[in-house]
């Protein structure tokens, strides 16, 4: 059976085509304002990469903040559910799932089989999400990659006073002006996000192995700070952490297609 999952995030759109439980094709692109058009285009790309046709898809499920924009999807699923489903598909038995995207971050407790037991989401505040690192890297005149790597080289710990992303930007500018080493600023930024995320994890209670999903899992500076804040030795990170929710949606699509014989409900 072939299904697809589309994750319309606050920044990027991700499409995954799933064939018999494996990723057969995928595509990632910026969302922009024409979300439906972009989602259609990215799904086409993913389908082409999988070597099949859109008509072969038994079920399409959309997820993410903009999931309702995907008019052609047969169903939708929340990001919390999609992320948990993908996490346990990739790492069976893991109980704690942390996901950090551009504007959203969340901590989810699962039963180890992809079902959500509890969750905490940053629904009211952007502090603790990824967009912060981008603006801070820009302020320091670094690429995102450089910003992440330099952060891991820092040995000093500078506290950030500001809780708010907007205020923290001014604070970083002040740190730059007062001659603080950029690598220490980079670490302070990642540490601030990690401490917010860790607070969410504590709300659902850390249990078992921890899976980290979302684009921020690519950032070694953040990963290091999150490990410190959670006091764990390892974080389980898949090869393509940014595709996790789209994968989860495609898995949910397979469940739903299976439950409704004939494919399309």
């Amino acid at each position: 059976m072939i299904t697809a999952g589309i994750d319309v995030g606050s920044k990027n759109i991700k499409a995954v085509v799933l064939r018999d439980g494996r990723i057969a094709g995928e595509a990632v692109g910026s969302g922009g304002f024409e979300q439906l058009a972009r989602a259609t285009e990215l799904l086409k790309q993913a389908v082409r990469a999988a070597g099949c046709a859109t008509a072969d898809l038994a079920h399409i499920t959309a997820t993410g903040a903009g999931r309702t924009a995907v008019a052609f999807a047969h169903s939708t699923v929340t990001g919390v559910t999609a992320g948990a489903r993908a996490a346990n598909h990739l790492f069976p038995g893991a109980r704690t799932v942390v996901e950090v995207g551009a504007e959203e971050s969340r901590a989810v407790k699962t039963d180890g089989a992809g079902r959500v037991l509890d969750s905490a989401v940053n629904e009211k505040c952007a502090a603790g999400s990824g967009s912060f690192t981008e603006s801070m890297a820009r302020a320091l005149g670094m690429t995102l990659e450089e910003f992440a790597v330099r952060s891991t080289q820092s040995t000093a710990r500078i506290p950030m006073n500001a809780q708010c992303t907007v205020f923290a930007e001014s604070e970083v500018v002040n740190l730059i002006h007062s001659g603080v080493d950029p690598k220490d600023i980079a670490r302070a930024v990642h540490d601030a996000i990690a401490s917010r995320v860790a607070a969410m994890v504590r709300r659902v209670k850390l249990e078992g192995e921890v899976v980290l999903l979302g684009g921020m899992a690519h950032n070694p500076g953040f990963v290091k700070c999150l490990k410190e804040n959670l006091e764990v030795e390892t974080l389980l990170i898949p090869d393509r952490p940014e595709l996790a929710d789209a994968l989860g949606a495609a898995l949910v699509a397979a469940d739903r297609a299976g439950a409704a014989p004939g494919g399309r409900p």
Partner: protein, 297 residues
Amino acid sequence: MMMAPRQEYWRWAEGSWADPDRHWKDARVVTLGIDVGSVSSEAVVCLDGELYAFSTVRTAAGSVESAENAMKGVFERTGLRFDDIHYVVGTGYGRVNLPFAHKAITEIACHGRGANYMGGPSVRTILDMGGQDCKAIRVDERGKVTNFLMNDKCAAGTGRGMEVIADLLEVPIEELGPRSFDIDEEPAAVSDVCVVFAKSEAMARLKDGWSKNKVIAAYCRAMAERVAALLQRVGVEPEFFITGGISKNIGVVRRIEEIIGVKALPTPYDTQIAGALGAALFAHALYLKARGKPQAA
């Protein structure tokens, strides 16, 4: 090739003023109040406990540098020198670092005192909308603080939040207020919980085909709703007075008045200086007290 610098739409005008009908040489007591805020810094000179001159500058990297810039503005305007000043009080979040101030007083007390001077003794509720915080303050007839609530954790409902939208829409910050009324119908507010989310929503509305003015209206409304909630928690008792930089944004002020059902007291003064004015008035009282003379009412 020369690149034109990108216009800074958030940048509000710095400036200074002095009362043309008075001269500091005629005064017995000259006091200075300095308010180093997170976004702007003000210096106010009082002659015998009356407002005489002020200057407003953007806060620089350091508190001392910011205070010096503000003082320089008011000294250049009036011809005063530092040695002519009898007493200096510092306030604002940078107040503790000012080596030349005789005393530091919290900005909440100073805004209470400044609003009492500008709005008169009938003022009971003050909203101070600053660059990086927002305070709802209750005062008695002498301007003494009886209760207050403050948001300094989040940019929603602060001047910095307004600067963000000015920059996003590429509209000079002074035009935001008037333009927010140039609409057919008042739109629903964007997110009032987070400036980052409000910014994303504003961008989405623009793509939906909303006019800039309508987006500004939705943003002003979000800010007003956020601030009104703070005011309602502390309780609004007339007369109501607004201080701080955003008091100049009519788009936010009118919407707050509409939500809480109380009009703000009009004033001829620039209310951005309320904190520094309160500091200069405290400086006057403290100087008289130090000299052992009875304090003027």
